[in-house]
């Protein structure tokens, strides 16, 4: 705070709003915020999941064995929410395959594996040093083509967020970075304040907004100083220093903090005339427009006491986590945890073979002593500590009961989906209940139920349509039979002496095919018989029934 007061610039510490709840976990940002961002050696391979953001994946444009340049597009943007992907360095496409990805589930997704050739050879770049006479739609196109997604966490495609056609009250640039340990944005602000402000001005130009609120937490005096200098005397960009409290960097919380307004449930900030972008995104936009460089790398905080060298690194997208750990002097303890993201919202990785993706802001390898695991879960004693810290003023203890009881209707009535999963409730729970985990499960289940319901509805329609069709066909068949019978009668009357024609079904089958079919049936029968011998005799009956 003292740092900000010594500067006679537009540093506005008067915060309008306030958000309820919140916690003050130990910050531990020092190791990462005090050292410059390191450059890493090129890893052996880069693993690029085709889908790194919300929405469908794009179409792969390269083939195995193909040589690619740095910045070359690897996938084509999908339909609505897609984003293209680029080669972070030059090299050879080694594989296109399923690979565990940066997701809590550890489930595999399609990924392009590049083996770097070490040349780091750029392909074509379309730099655009002066964007002011370029049409906004073209700028959005450039941002889209650069593959920029929100680097703060959710990873929503930036161009699509910017393209919303509504007048803005404020453009908010989020440099709060409230999670403990993480100092990626902090360090980026310290080292690239000018780029960030330049990026901010591009965003401002695109959204035609004349009021920018740039928010930084008051525990980052160096960043505040750097940004304040970079802003200079620009009257449209207001630096807002917000008090340190987790989760003030959450989109909804920061909006309440800066403007005093709440984003209505189920709506977007856009609906109340606000748009928020992360400082990292602003930086990426600047690189994309002014330098023509797509999003190829990002700052990742690598921290935790199992590492000797803690700090921030520039990591190419696709860098395996193992590489980051190796480069940071990793000495794992027993039952080591590797966390992607911060201690509050990050998820543990089952394997270090997963890559850095666009939204990876932190990799942690904490020791047990540093971040003790919670003890065994005890029963909720309804102490209300969780409700006191919930920034969304939910009733976490109630949600927990309902989640355990699987009462999904009631969960929705208690606004489960307004939970931002910040983890403050579980952090303070004296019974050490993994509350957020219950909510995530419940949310997944609610979504699943909705999916099942839609599917059931679809199935019902198809079933009914089928029944209708069968009924219709039956009627038609009956009609045909009736007609045929009449015909036959007539014919019989007319040609009473003519013999009946043969109508055997099998006659028109080609002999070879039918032999193969017979063989297949015989095979299946043998199999079933063997099965039946093992199982009960009833099975046998059913097998016989099948043939009829």
């Amino acid at each position: 705070m003292s740092g900000s007061q010594t500067m006679n610039r537009d540093v506005n510490t008067a915060v309008i709003g306030h958000f309820p709840g919140g916690v003050h976990p130990p910050e531990r940002k020092q190791p990462a915020s005090s050292k410059p961002i390191r450059k890493l050696a090129l890893p052996q391979e880069l693993i690029l999941p085709v889908r790194q953001h919300i929405g469908p994946s794009g179409k792969v444009l390269v083939a195995i064995g193909e040589r690619v340049d740095k910045g070359q597009r690897l996938t084509e943007a999908g339909l609505s929410q897609g984003l293209p992907l680029h080669a972070p360095t030059s090299g050879i496409i080694a594989a296109i395959e399923e690979h565990p990805t940066a997701h809590a589930s550890g489930l595999p997704e399609q990924a392009i594996v590049i083996q770097p050739d070490g040349e780091d050879r750029w392909g074509n770049k379309h730099a655009l040093p002066d964007y002011h006479d370029v049409e906004i739609s073209r700028l959005l196109e450039l941002i889209q083509e650069a593959g920029i997604a929100g680097l703060g966490g959710a990873g929503f495609p930036t161009a699509q967020k910017l393209a919303q056609q509504k007048p803005l009250k404020h453009l908010i640039i989020n440099g709060v970075e409230c999670e403990p340990y993480i100092a990626a944005d902090d360090r980026l602000m310290q080292e690239h304040a000018d780029d960030i402000i330049a990026g901010t001005r591009i965003l401002q130009y695109i959204t035609r907004c004349d009021s920018v609120l740039l928010a930084i937490e008051d525990n980052k005096p160096e960043a505040i100083k750097a940004i304040a200098e970079a802003i200079g005397d620009d009257p449209q960009i207001h630096l807002k220093v917000v008090p340190t409290k987790y989760p003030s960097g959450g989109e909804k919380q920061l909006i309440e903090l800066l403007t005093g307004d709440q984003v209505p449930s189920g709506k977007l900030p856009m609906d109340i005339g606000l748009l928020m972008q992360n400082v990292g995104t602003a930086y990426a936009v600047k690189r994309a427009i002014i330098h023509g460089e797509p999003l190829l790398e990002r700052v990742v905080t690598v921290t935790g006491e199992s590492l000797k060298q803690r700090g921030n690194v520039w990591a190419l997208l696709g860098t395996p986590i193992q590489h980051l750990l190796d480069e940071s002097g990793f000495t794992p303890e027993k039952k080591q945890r590797i966390i992607m993201g911060g201690p509050m919202m990050g998820f543990t990785l089952p394997s270090s073979e997963v890559p850095v993706i666009k939204t990876t802001n932190c990799i942690m390898a904490p020791t047990e002593q540093e971040l003790p695991s919670p003890g065994p879960e005890l029963a909720c004693i309804r102490c209300g500590a969780c409700a006191d810290v919930c920034p969304a003023t939910l009733q976490p203890q109630q949600l927990q009961w309902l989640a355990k009881a699987k009462d999904y209707d009631e969960l929705e009535k208690h606004n489960l989906f307004d939970c931002i999963e910040c983890g403050a409730c579980a952090y303070v729970c004296p019974s050490e209940i993994p509350l957020v985990h219950y909510y995530r499960k419940a949310k997944a289940e609610v979504r699943n139920i909705a999916r099942e319901k839609a599917k059931a509805e679809q199935a019902r329609k198809r079933f009914e349509a089928r029944q209708e069709r069968l009924e219709r066909e039956k009627q038609e068949r009956l009609e045909r039979h009736r007609k045929a019978a009449e015909e036959r009668k007539k014919m019989q009357q007319e040609k009473a002496d003519k013999p009946e024609s043969k109508t055997k079904e099998g006659d028109d089958k080609p002999a070879g095919k039918s032999a193969a079919v017979a063989a297949a049936i015989a095979r299946a029968k043998a199999k079933k018989a063997a099965q039946a011998a093992k199982d009960s005799p009833e099975e046998d009956n059913s097998a016989k029934g099948n043939e009829s």
């Binding site: 594989a95 809590a104 079933f463």
Partner: protein
């Protein structure tokens, strides 16, 4: 005399109330609630027949007429709970005489073994199998309800019921499965020179 008065008074009162009730019965008649539709809405529409009724709708009708609510294995616990809420009865465990709740599955035809007999197509209650006589058949995965009614009629046993693969977006946050996910799917990276 007073006793006689009581009889008269009560008789007259009853007459008046009877008249009012008669009036109300005609004036405020409410259409009966289509409870069967509501039940049918809850059922998973697999049309699998495990409940002992030919399809979901007949079972819905049966529940409305007082049958047990715990006969639907595909719907499982969740469906029983919803039915219990709707019918105002106690939820009870699935009656395992009708089968057990299982993970969601889809039918997959081993296409090289299919002889194109169309028996499975006739068996599929939701028309989720494509194909024609003597042509290879295939299951439209996202239309398949996993009822497994097609398995039995197949003369060459070429239909498998396969667990629906979890995807990151449909994953149910079951942390116990993470290690298996990683183990089952970790593929060594091939290097092509």
């Amino acid at each position: 005399m007073s006793l006689f008065g009581a009889v008269i008074a009560l008789g007259v009162l009853a007459l008046i109330f009877g008249v009012i009730l008669g009036f109300a019965a005609v004036k405020f008649r409410v259409e009966s609630d289509p409870i069967v539709d509501q039940i049918d809405e809850i059922l998973p529409q697999t049309q699998c027949g495990q409940c002992g009724y030919p399809g979901c709708r007949p079972y819905a009708q049966a529940i409305a007429d007082g049958d047990d609510i715990n006969k639907c294995p595909p719907g499982g616990e969740a469906t029983i709970k919803q039915l219990a809420d709707l019918m105002g009865v106690e939820a009870k465990p699935l009656d395992d005489a009708h089968g057990e709740e299982d993970v969601k599955k889809v039918a997959v035809i081993r296409e090289d073994e299919c002889i194109g007999c169309t028996k499975c197509i006739q068996a599929c209650p939701v028309d989720a199998i494509l194909g024609a006589a003597k042509q290879m058949h295939t299951v439209i995965e996202h239309e398949c309800t996993g009822c497994d009614l097609c398995v039995e009629p197949c003369p060459v046993d070429c239909i498998d019921m396969v667990k629906i693969k979890a995807k990151p977006e449909t994953w149910q946050w079951d942390l116990d499965t993470v290690k298996e996910n990683i183990k089952a799917n970790s593929i060594p990276v091939k290097v092509v020179e």
